[in-house]
């Protein structure tokens, strides 16, 4: 394994030192692993998110005006611990309550739940919204439920904008919940990523295989499929999303890279996705193309579709200034 790291043990710390050096707009507590705004916001609902590392720019790259107040990175692919989450919650707290945006993985859910209870004990109002947009996994009592993936970015952006406008905790939580309900995602991997401490790819795919419905930690999806042209892979993903979310009217499309897929390929896949949407009567009025929620150096892509309302669209357009998303300011 050749990786641009000092050692598997220092990957997170080194990256946090880098974020600290690169972004004067952020305060990075390297030791306690909390990334927060250098300019603490006042008189607004605080937004906190976090999860395992390896998905950069998620979540630290989304801390800043119009989006998160603080983020907590866990170990690679491992949920953060309550101590971090409590510290972030305190950093985000401006006495209007704090929203936890949590991706639906047992570890994340439980650790955020512990932290929320402890924060409540300290007098901070906390509401949690659990994101579960990944249609690859059946949402049934037989599983831990659908996983949280790309819609998290949309929830962080849109709920962040609402908070910035002065909405109260209930409203901000309602909006994040609405994003979750109106969004679906699906990912396909071409090559597995390598967790530094493991030192080898998380799974093996033959030369003609892809993992259909892969999770953001390289978890298996629905099935191994046959590799094919971008057009077919994109259609497969959108069909899966469409089966669960009526796509019509105005949508936001995120064509996301998993980390090692070059932008030129993502644009090509985006062209197919946008054509698919056009063919299904949807108007793609907003979009992102690039690496927004990654899986280390995994090759592949994921698609997130959010069916917009006027309110969601307005909040998506609101100014945002973070390392990874910036417009209007």
């Amino acid at each position: 394994m050749k990786k641009l790291i000092n050692s598997p043990d220092t990957v997170i710390t080194d990256a946090l030192r880098g974020m600290s050096a690169a972004h004067p707009g952020l305060t990075v507590d390297v030791e306690n692993r909390v990334i927060s705004r250098a300019q603490r916001a006042s008189d607004k609902v605080g937004l906190v998110s976090g999860g395992g590392s390896g998905h950069e720019p998620l979540h630290g790259g989304y801390v800043g005006h119009g989006m998160l107040d603080a983020a907590v990175p866990g170990e690679i692919y491992t949920s953060p611990v309550p101590d971090q989450i409590i510290a972030a919650t305190k950093a985000a707290n401006a006495d209007r309550g704090v929203l936890h945006i949590v991706k639906n993985y047992t570890g994340d859910v439980l650790n955020f739940q512990m932290a929320a209870e402890l924060a409540e004990d300290e007098g901070i109002d906390v509401v949690s919204v659990i994101m579960n947009d990944d249609v690859a996994v059946e949402d049934s009592t037989h599983t831990a439920g659908r996983r949280g993936t790309g819609a998290t970015i949309v929830a962080e952006k849109v709920a962040g904008a609402a908070a910035e406008e002065g909405a109260d905790l209930e409203t901000v939580a309602r909006i994040a919940t609405e994003v979750n309900e109106r969004s679906r995602s699906f990912g396909i991997a071409l090559h597995a990523g390598t967790v530094p401490s493991a030192g080898r790819p998380g799974f093996e795919l033959a030369d003609d295989e892809v993992e259909l419905g892969v999770g953001i930690h390289g978890e298996p999806g629905r099935e191994r499929g046959t590799f094919g042209p971008a057009r077919d892979l994109v259609s497969y993903a959108l069909d899966a999303i469409h089966a669960d979310l009526s796509i019509s009217d105005e949508v936001l499309l995120i064509l996301n890279g998993q980390g090692a897929t070059p932008l030129i390929e993502l644009y090509g896949a985006f062209a197919e996705a946008s054509a698919w949407l056009g063919g299904h009567g949807a108007a793609m009025v907003r979009s992102l193309v690039g690496n927004y929620i990654t899986s280390l150096d995994q090759a592949g892509f994921s698609i997130t579709v959010t069916s917009l309302t006027d309110e969601l669209r307005r909040l998506w357009d609101a100014p945002v200034s973070t390392p990874a998303l910036r417009w209007g300011v």
Binding site: Y77, P82, N111, H142
Partner: protein, 224 residues
Amino acid sequence: MGCTCQYAGAAVGGLIVNLDATTARAWIVRVAELIHANEQRLTDLDATIGDGDHGANMQRGVAAAVASLEEQEPEDAGKVLNSTGRELISKTGGASGPLYGTGFRRAGKELGDEVDVQAVARALEAMLRSIEELGGATQEEKTIVDALAPAVAAFQETSGQGGDLHAAASAAAEAAERGAAATIPLQARKGRASYLGERSIGHEDPGAASTALIIRALADVTAP
């Protein structure tokens, strides 16, 4: 009472009859040893049906728990378990951290400054109940519960029939190990492994395996 209790577990003719602070500490230290020795195995089990971090998670958590015990020297077994639980929650991460952490905290709370085998039985039961409650899992869902539930039952049965701490713990450890092995044919319905659906069948659950180590550690440190 505090004082008597604290040393009540000292070996009587080499026999440890109570879970005093010293024995509780020894238990946690032994857990750390067993986790350390089995870290790779837990990681491999988790890599097969999860995300391959269970060994590292547990190692991080129990190392922190031991370090904290060295600093604090809690005065009774309840406080030892409580401290351990807090550290596991703080440092483990993953699903296992809050589950084991909450389990140890609730066990510690239940135990308080009591030390006899009946109290330990109630403490282990509290551990099981809190883990079930927090994780929402029942038996046969391929989780920690599948090792812990039979362990608690065996402990209760043995102690109820007059077995001493070591006898009960040994029966529990064997039951936990059988329970962990019995997860192999199960399909996971909770945690990351559930994403695999039928592909989770045929592999031992890493959390059940670590539970077996935790209970085995109790049997080890109570051995005459």
